[in-house]
């Protein structure tokens, strides 16, 4: 009797397994994404490539005042900034970020008093050589690079809220 029970147990468990694979086979729940063709939308708070916000009314069309707070906040010494001009006219002459050292800790963005520096969701940052990680002012303020991505609509003009929207709490600029 025991032998027949064993046979029945094996037959039923094998057919259960076959049924599971068959349903999967027929229904084809597809999990794979074909990366260059299909892309996953990054999360809104994803920390990708940096961007300097534009402001057409200021010198060099940037909201950055070269206050160097981001440089001071940075634990890995990513920045090199030289400022130019006095008072309200102050703006960066040189603004460089060496992203090969960056660990995307977000401290510079936190430090910026004008929300000038922000992160985009751009994540395809691989390059062929290390010096290509040196992003200068033009590279960081080029807006077409991130157009169509998540923060694009926020970048066209200065806004009051923090770009990465910390728990929906709007942060003041003053």
């Amino acid at each position: 009797m025991n032998a027949f029970q064993e046979i029945w147990a094996s037959v039923s468990s094998i057919s259960k397994g076959l049924y599971v694979t068959l349903t999967n086979w027929v229904r084809r729940p597809r999990v794979t994404q074909r990366y260059p063709k299909e892309r996953r939308t990054p999360f809104p708070r994803y920390r990708g490539l940096f961007i300097l916000r534009r402001d057409p009314n200021r010198p060099r069309e940037t909201t950055c005042t070269a206050c160097l707070l981001c440089w001071k906040a940075c634990p890995t010494d990513v920045f090199y900034i030289e400022g130019e001009g006095k008072g309200k006219e102050r703006h960066p002459k040189i603004f460089q970020m060496d992203l090969s050292r960056c660990m995307y800790c977000h401290l510079c963005v936190e430090a910026c008093p004008f929300d000038s520096l922000a992160e985009t969701t751009e994540y395809e940052l691989a390059t062929y050589s290390r010096d290509q990680y040196l992003y200068d002012f033009d590279a960081l303020s080029r807006q077409d690079r991130v157009q169509g991505r998540i923060h694009a609509e926020l970048l066209a003009e200065p806004v009051e809220v923090s770009l990465l929207g910390d728990e929906g709490e709007p942060s003041s600029n003053e």
């Binding site: 076959l18 729940p29 794979t32």
Partner: protein, 343 residues
């Protein structure tokens, strides 16, 4: 197909009119048939490898090859084969050269020559042997020699272990397989594969004749074991034995093992469709198409099983073979004898 028959007939006439002795005619025909079978086998293996990858992808919610050669990756296997052909033929210093170099061919050859007597239809068959089933069984016993040659010749403990396992497994599963085939032979009263198919015109497919249903199940289990596939792929159990008896092989020789494996799979499924599923018989479609449809259905079933069941342990493998399949096959032999007498 009629074209082939006509060509064969006119070839015979041509040789006869030139006064050639009959053996030249036979030799030329044998050569043509063997080349045709080889080409068929190569194409089939290309298709089977692609199919296996697609089926596994579908079952595992993946896509599988999707870029090489159009949307469905049809040329993926061709690319793989070309890559294997171009790779260096590596053999380490300690190999037993003769055994190591000739083992892949001995593994592939039986699956190839076994097709000599497979009737693709009543008009397309290389040679109808009176002892076809016996010939097939004799030939199917040969790959084990190649496997143990590869295992010993590699001079590698994993390969040797895998070779020993392969032989133990194949000897174990050959016995119930032979008895299951014997049931069919008793039923048909002939060893000729052509005649076995023709007999199924009277009785219906042998799967539906009750004692032979059990024989069919036994044959399928034994055939999956015989072609070294999961759940019985102990000779190449990756988690235990690296790559099994072809661990040390690369390039063309590895491709030969691969070819042998899939050719054997195709053969055991073709053989099953001859013995149990009425071979080429079927309505509407040409007989060759029916034969291929039945064979491919069995192959897809084998793939389905492969991606469902986990590998059995070596002791479970042995106990399934000796303690379940063999008694069941012997019981089935008696039942079939009674059934055949009672008819």
């Amino acid at each position: 197909m009629t074209l082939i028959a006509t060509a064969s007939w006119s070839l015979e006439k041509w040789f006869a009119s030139r006064g050639f002795p009959g053996w030249i005619d036979n030799a030329v025909r044998a050569f043509i048939a063997s080349v045709a079978v080889l080409i068929l086998l190569l194409i089939t293996v290309l298709i089977l490898v692609w199919l296996e990858r697609k089926v596994s992808a579908d079952i595992q919610s993946r896509i599988g090859p999707a870029r090489t050669g159009g949307r469905f990756g049809i040329l993926q296997t061709v690319a793989d084969a070309l890559k294997l052909l171009l790779k260096e033929d590596v053999a380490h210093a300690q190999v037993d050269r003769w055994l190591f170099f000739y083992a892949p061919f001995i593994v592939f050859l039986p699956a190839y020559v076994a097709f000599a007597t497979v009737p693709f239809s009543d008009r397309l068959q290389a040679g109808d042997l009176k002892i076809g089933a016996l010939y097939v069984l004799a030939v199917l016993a040969l790959p084990q020699i190649g496997m143990i040659m590869a295992g010993w010749g590699s001079n590698n403990k994993y390969s040797l272990l895998a070779g020993m396992r392969a032989v133990a497994q194949l000897v174990t599963y050959e016995v119930p397989m032979i008895i299951a085939i014997l049931c069919v032979v008793m039923m048909a009263g002939s060893l000729s594969l052509k005649e076995i198919v023709q007999k199924q015109a009277e009785t219906g497919w042998y799967v539906f004749n009750l004692p032979l249903t059990l024989a069919f199940i036994i044959y399928i289990v034994a055939a999956i074991a015989e072609s070294n596939r999961i759940p019985f792929d102990l000779p190449e159990a990756e988690s235990e034995l690296v790559g099994g008896f072809h661990t040390e092989y690369s390039g063309l020789r590895f491709a030969m093992f691969f070819l042998g494996e899939y050719a054997l799979l195709f053969f055991v499924c073709a053989f099953a469709s001859i013995l149990f599923l009425g071979g080429w018989r079927g309505p509407w479609l040409p007989p060759e198409a029916w034969f291929l449809i039945k064979t491919y259905a069995l192959i897809i079933f084998a793939m389905w099983v492969r991606f469902t069941l986990p590998r059995v342990r070596i002791d479970q493998l042995m106990s399934i073979g000796w303690k379940f399949l063999l008694p069941a096959a012997l019981l089935d032999l008696i039942l079939t004898a009674a059934w055949a007498l009672g008819r």
